[in-house]
């Protein structure tokens, strides 16, 4: 895929937050929201620190944009329709639907999300009107390697697995 120099810089910024997430033992996804060429929201997943599985970076950023609009006296609906989202991993089903609800202008992502992806695992766009343009594949391998690195480790918040190994007698 091709991105303009500015877009590449936006993605670079998103990746910075993905690396930060990994260092903080969070699922390494980083994201920035751009409104009229200005970064108006940025961040990473905060699921583990908040004990809230919905605190994905996109949800965090939506709230930052809301604050930004309030601060600047902007119409929320109109502003969101001009927002471009740059995120290192394909948004999950929850997040892509929230972005569709707000009618954001576009989403650029890094690698596919084969666990929860809002296109890959269940195509949300197939069951609702979605004006948002989506393109993926930028630095996909790097984004995927970050995820692999995370899932290699142990999720510090998850309880011990109850799954018994077949045929393994204890």
């Amino acid at each position: 895929m091709e991105l303009t120099d500015t877009e590449q810089q936006f993605m670079e910024k998103a990746f910075e937050y993905a690396y930060e997430a990994l260092a903080a033992k969070e699922v390494p996804v980083g994201c920035i929201f751009v409104y009229k060429d200005e970064i108006v929201a940025l961040g990473r997943n905060t699921v583990n620190e908040s004990r809230n599985a919905t605190r994905h970076t996109e949800i965090n950023c939506i709230e930052q944009v809301t604050d930004y609009c309030r601060d600047k006296g902007l119409d929320l609906g109109a502003a969101f329709r001009q927002v471009c989202v740059y995120v290192t991993v394909e948004p999950c089903i929850m997040c892509i639907n929230a972005l569709y609800d707000l009618g954001v202008h576009s989403v650029v992502f890094g690698c596919k999300n084969d666990r929860f992806g809002g296109q890959t695992v269940f195509d949300v766009g197939s069951v609702r009107q979605a004006p948002t343009r989506i393109k993926g594949g930028w630095r996909a391998e790097e984004a995927m390697n970050l995820l692999k690195e995370f899932y290699k480790g142990v999720n510090p918040s998850a309880p011990p697995s109850k799954v018994k190994v077949r045929g393994k007698k204890t």
């Binding site: 809301t66 609800d101 666990r115 929860f116 069951v127």
Partner: protein, 322 residues
């Protein structure tokens, strides 16, 4: 709702709900055409079966018996026509003299039946193996809950409805630990605050708060609402249990919401590992039966059970779009 009232012989007090099932638990099974031959001499039946199983095993149809009386299931029809059937058998090295030259095509179950209702249909077409699963049977025949359990579910939905009344909102959500029948957290629509603050999302954050997390400040009237609910509902418990491994997200919890959750909220409940979700009114954008069924999307790592129509009329009275 304007249908003529039917004479009711019993008082209509028992709450009802409808499980939103995975397709595999209620849909008619897909059928597949297979060739069926007739064994000439019944004494050779076992020989024919052994021989066929060795030259022409059908691994994709192991749920079907190979024989029905004198009839024997040969192989799936595919694109061949009947004349080709014996040729194929010969090529495979099967002694076609053991069966009649006349071969017919019948439709049989392509996949194994999951519930008795499906089994009874396809077993008539061709004998079929079936392992009954008691839980699936109850779920698919909507007999999972006893009357007292239904009453318990209705009680928690009434609390959700009361929250809507108290707060003058259209949607609310209550998260319950069914093991200790206690409300762990509740939430109501606060989308005027942030577009992400749907009732379910707020309730999930309340659960996070109970686990020393959470991001949103608790609504200023939360405690007041809780006291009002306690006054109205005798023996209503609030709080969570720390027994066992301790709570993790919404694992094991039931969620009651007046309105069918949207895709965002339905998926938020997958991420949160909710056990069951009960809702009152269907919604056009709803993701637990109406526009899709997020709770049973196959490739997700967690699934929960969804039940629609609990206190539907009362929920509609407070609810949204319908």
């Amino acid at each position: 709702m304007n249908a003529p009232k039917r004479l009711k012989l019993e008082t209509p007090t028992k709450p009802t709900l409808t499980p939103i099932l995975a397709d595999e638990l209620y849909k008619e099974l897909p059928l597949i055409d297979v060739y069926v031959g007739k064994i000439k001499d019944p004494k050779t039946t076992s020989k024919v079966v052994v021989e066929l199983n060795s030259v022409l095993p059908i691994p994709e149809l192991t749920h079907l018996k190979r024989v029905r009386g004198k009839e024997i299931l040969l192989f799936p029809k595919g694109d061949n026509d009947e004349d080709d059937c014996l040729t194929v058998l010969k090529q495979k090295g099967f002694d076609v003299d053991l069966i009649e030259s006349q071969v017919r095509v019948i439709a049989v179950a392509e996949i194994p039946p999951k519930v008795r209702k499906q089994y009874e249909v396809v077993h008539k077409l061709w004998p079929c193996n079936f392992h009954s699963n008691a839980y699936w049977e109850k779920l698919s025949t909507n007999s999972l809950f006893s009357d007292s359990e239904l009453e318990q579910h209705a009680k928690f939905m009434r609390i959700a409805i009361d929250i809507c009344d108290i707060c003058s909102v259209r949607v609310s959500a209550v998260v319950v630990d069914p093991v200790i029948t206690s409300v762990v957290g509740f939430g109501f629509d606060q989308t005027s605050d942030y577009p992400t603050k749907h009732a379910v999302m707020v309730a999930i954050d309340e659960v996070a708060r109970s686990q020393k997390g959470g991001v949103w400040p608790r609504h200023q009237n939360y405690d007041k609402i809780q006291s009002l609910l306690k006054m109205k509902h005798e023996n209503l418990q609030f709080g969570f249990s720390t027994s066992g491994e301790g709570p993790y997200l919404c694992t094991g919890y039931s969620v009651y919401t007046t309105c069918e959750p949207c895709i965002t909220c339905a998926m938020a409940l997958v991420h949160s590992r909710a056990k069951r979700v009960f809702y009152g009114v269907k919604s056009e954008k709803g993701a637990l039966g109406s526009s899709c069924k997020i709770h049973i999307v196959e490739n997700l790592n967690h699934h929960y059970e969804a039940f629609a129509g609990l206190l539907e009329t009362e929920c509609r009275a407070v609810s949204c779009e319908q």
